[in-house]
C-alpha cells in the first residue's frame, strides 16, 4: 500500500489532495432546488455527478445559518468545537449584542489554513465580506469576497486587480450576480493560479426569494451547474454542499408567520427579565428581515428555563425548546455562547423579537427563510465515486473534506507521494 501524505486538523485526519479540490458551499441550497432543476434538465452536470459520482443528503448544523455552517465545513467539526454559534451573539463578557464575524471567536484552526501551512496553495472566495475574515483566519493564501472584490490587495487578500482578472463588474450584494462572481472567480483562479484547494461560498439571495422549480431558481442553479462543469473540465474534484436549506415561512395570508418571542417572555416574566437573541441577524437583512427559525434567550433568572421550555412546547409554531445544556448537547453548540434556552420554530414559522424591531419593508415576495431543524438537510455531492462509504449513515455537511480527501477516487492516475513532506507533494505551492 502506498504511503499517503496526511494532515491532522481538529482530531480528524485527511489525505492531501492528489488533484485540485474545489468545495462549493451553495448558500441555502435546499436539496429540492437540485431535484427540481435536474428534473427539468437545467443541471446536466449535476445529473451526471449523481449517475457516476456521489450524491448524498447531509445534515447541516442547527442553527441552520451561514456562519456556523461555513465554519463547520472548513474546520470539520461542529460549533461546540469551533465556537461560532451563529451570525450574531450576545457577548457574555460585555453583555452586548454583536456580529460574530471576528476570528477571535474562532476556537479551532481551519483545514484551509492547515493545508496552506503544509505548503499547498489555498484560495477562498466568498460572496459577502462578512464571512471572509472567519474563513481566512490564519490562512496564508488568497481570500477575498465578491462583495468587496474591487478593494483586494496582495497584502490583505493575497491577490489584487480581481475585477479586471475575472472580467466582471462588481455585483450588488443583493443579487444573483454576486454568487455568479464567486463561481466565475473560482474558474479564473483555477485557470491562472491553480490552487490545490479552493473553497467557494455563495449567497442565498435567490433562495430567499424563489422556491425550488421556479424559473428564477432553475436559472440560478443552471448557472452554478455551468461553472462546476468548467471546474471539472479543468481537472478538479468538485464537492457541492450547502450551509442550510430554505423553506417558505408564510401563513395562508401570504404574510410572514412570525412568533414574536420578546412579548411572550415579557408577558410571563415581566419586562427586562428575558432577552431574545436572533443569531440570523446580520447587516444584510433586506431579504429576510432578520426572521429565522432559531432563537436563543437569556434570562435574568435561569432557574426558570425548564418551566419556560415546557410552556413553549405548547405554543403553535414551536418545534423544539430546550434548556442550555440540552441544546448544547443535542445541537453540538458551545454552551457558553448560547442563552439559557433555545427555541426552534417549525417549517412554516419564524421567530422574531418584537414586531417593532423587524423591518419587513424590503420583503417584495413571500418570506422564505431558515435556521431550524426543518432546514437541516443539504446536498453533499462529489463528481467522483466514493466506494466503501456507508451512504445511509448520518452524513454532515462538515464531512465534505473528509469525503473528498479520504474516500473519493481521484480521476487522474494516482501518483503516491514518496514522503509526507510538502515539497514532494504534486500540488505543493
Amino acid at each position: 500500500m502506498p504511503t499517503t501524505a496526511r494532515i491532522c486538523v481538529n482530531a480528524r485526519s485527511y489525505a492531501l489532495p492528489r488533484e485540485p479540490l474545489v468545495v462549493v458551499c451553495v448558500d441555502g441550497c435546499e436539496p429540492d432546488y437540485i431535484g427540481q432543476a435536474v428534473a427539468s434538465g437545467k443541471m446536466p452536470w449535476v445529473a451526471q455527478v449523481l449517475a457516476t459520482g456521489t450524491g448524498l443528503l447531509a445534515a447541516c448544523v442547527v442553527p441552520s445559518f451561514t456562519n456556523p455552517n461555513n465554519l463547520s465545513i472548513v474546520t470539520g467539526v461542529p460549533p461546540s468545537v469551533h465556537g461560532i454559534s451563529g451570525n450574531y451573539m450576545l457577548d457574555p463578557e460585555t453583555g452586548k449584542e454583536q456580529m460574530m464575524n471576528d476570528p477571535r471567536w474562532l476556537r479551532a484552526p481551519t483545514l484551509l489554513a492547515a493545508l496552506a501551512d503544509h505548503g499547498l496553495k489555498v484560495a477562498v472566495v466568498t460572496a459577502k465580506d462578512k464571512l471572509r475574515t472567519l474563513l481566512g483566519a490564519g490562512l496564508r493564501g488568497i481570500c477575498f469576497s465578491a462583495e468587496k472584490a474591487d478593494r483586494c490587495t496582495r497584502a490583505e487578500h493575497g491577490i489584487d486587480d480581481v475585477l479586471a482578472s475575472v472580467g466582471r463588474p462588481l455585483a450588488s450584494v443583493y443579487s444573483a450576480e454576486l454568487s455568479e462572481f464567486v463561481l466565475a472567480s473560482g474558474v479564473w483562479l483555477m485557470q491562472h493560479e491553480r490552487p490545490a484547494v479552493l473553497y467557494l461560498s455563495t449567497t442565498d439571495y435567490v433562495q430567499h426569494k424563489y422556491a425550488p422549480g421556479t424559473p428564477e431558481a432553475n436559472a440560478f442553479l443552471a448557472m452554478i451547474d455551468c461553472h462546476l462543469a468548467r471546474l471539472e473540465a479543468l481537472g478538479c474534484m468538485v464537492v457541492l454542499t450547502a450551509d442550510h436549506g430554505m423553506n417558505p415561512k408564510v401563513g395562508m395570508d401570504g404574510k410572514p408567520q412570525v412568533l414574536y418571542l420578546q412579548p411572550w417572555f415579557d408577558k410571563r416574566l415581566g419586562e427586562g427579565e428575558a432577552r431574545v437573541i436572533l443569531p440570523i441577524t446580520d447587516p444584510y437583512v433586506v431579504h429576510h428581515g432578520a426572521l429565522g427559525s432559531f432563537a436563543t434567550v437569556y434570562l435574568r433568572n435561569p432557574d426558570k428555563a425548564a418551566e419556560l421550555c415546557a410552556a413553549l412546547h405548547d405554543v403553535v409554531g414551536v418545534e423544539a425548546a430546550r434548556v442550555r445544556a440540552d441544546a448544547a448537547q443535542s445541537f453540538e453548540l458551545p454552551a457558553d455562547r448560547i442563552g439559557d434556552l433555545v427555541v426552534v420554530s417549525e417549517r412554516f414559522h419564524v421567530l422574531g423579537t418584537s414586531p417593532g424591531r423587524h423591518d419587513l419593508h424590503g420583503l417584495d415576495r413571500p418570506l422564505r427563510s431558515h435556521g431550524g431543524i426543518s432546514e437541516q438537510l443539504v446536498p453533499l455531492l462529489i463528481n467522483r465515486p466514493t466506494p466503501g462509504i456507508d451512504a445511509a449513515r448520518r452524513w454532515r455537511n462538515f464531512d465534505a473534506f473528509d469525503l473528498a480527501l479520504n474516500w473519493a477516487l481521484p480521476r487522474a492516475p494516482v501518483c503516491a507521494a514518496t514522503s509526507s513532506g510538502s515539497a514532494d507533494h504534486p500540488l505543493a505551492a
Copy 2:
C-alpha cells in the same frame, strides 16, 4: 338564551344550520398553496376571509389520504370510529386486497345523512366517483360525482340531467376541470336547489403536479376562490378545508425517492413472510403511481413487529414505524383494519411495495404525493368570525362542521328556532 335546534351524531352535538352551509374539501390543499396564491393576489375572497372570518391550520388524519379524511370530515370522528382506514385495504376475513369504497366498511353514520333525516335538504358533489358511495351512505338527498355526472338518475343520485343544468361538458378524470365541475355544480345547486348543507370534494390532480406558487397552482386556486365567492354571494356560510397536504417526493436526481418495502422485508424474513399494503392505491394512480408516504404491513409472525419497527427507524427516509397497537392509538386508526405494523416516510420520500408493481410511466412531472405526517397540516377557513374559540388548540379537519355549526356567527340576523322539530327550522327541506 334562545333554544337552538340541535342534532347529535357520533357523540358530537351540532346546532342546525341557520344559513346554508357549504363545506368544501379541497383535495391536497397544502396550506402553502393558499399562502402563495393569496400573496400574489390570486385569492381575494380567501384574503378577505382571513381578514374578517376565521383562518386556522388543522391536522388531518394520518394516513393523509382522501377516503379516511373525507369520511372523518363528514362523520366528525377519526377512522378508529368510522372505520375507513385508507383508500385500499386487506380484508381481514378474506385475506384479499381491495378498495375501501363500499359503505359496508363504514362504521359510523355521516352527519350529512343525519341532517337529511332531520328534514334538511342535503347535497354532495365529489370529483371522483370512488368517494360518492361512501359520502352518500344512508343519505336521502342529492349525491353525485363530476366523473360520472352524465349518468345521474333521480333514483340513485337524487338528480338528473346534470351536464345540461350545470352547463359544462363532462371533464376528464385527470384534469383541473373535474374539480371546477364540482364547484360549478355547487353554485348551480345553491342557486336552484338551495340545500341547507352542501358538501363539495375536489380532486388533487393539480396539486400532484404543481407546487405552491406556480402559475398552474395559482390559477387553480384562483378558480376555487372565484366559486367560493359566488357561494358567499348566494348567502352561504362557506368552510374550506382539505383532506391532506402535498409535498415533493423526489431526490436530487429529480426521480421519485422510493423506499421499496417488500424487498426490505423479504430480505430480512424470507419471501412470503410479510405483505406490504399501500392504502393510497386506487384505480386512479397515473399521477402518483400508487406511491405515498404511508404503508401497513401484515406479518406471518406478528411477534416480530416490534423488532422490525426498531430496524425500520434506522432506514433513511422513514419518519415513523409503529406496531399495530401503537399505530392505532397514535393515529386513531381501527386496529383490525391495519397490519401488524405501520410505516410512515419522511417529507421527501415515498413508500413502495416492489419496483415492478409501480408503473411510473404516467409521471410527466417530478412526483408530488402525500400520506405521511409531513402532509398533515391543512387549512380550516370559514367566511364567518368564530368568537370564543381557542385558535391555538389542535384543530382537526374533522372539526369543520363543529366549527361552522357551533362556533361561527351566521351573517344574517339570527332567527331562533322555536322548537327542536325539523318543520320549524328555517332551512327545513
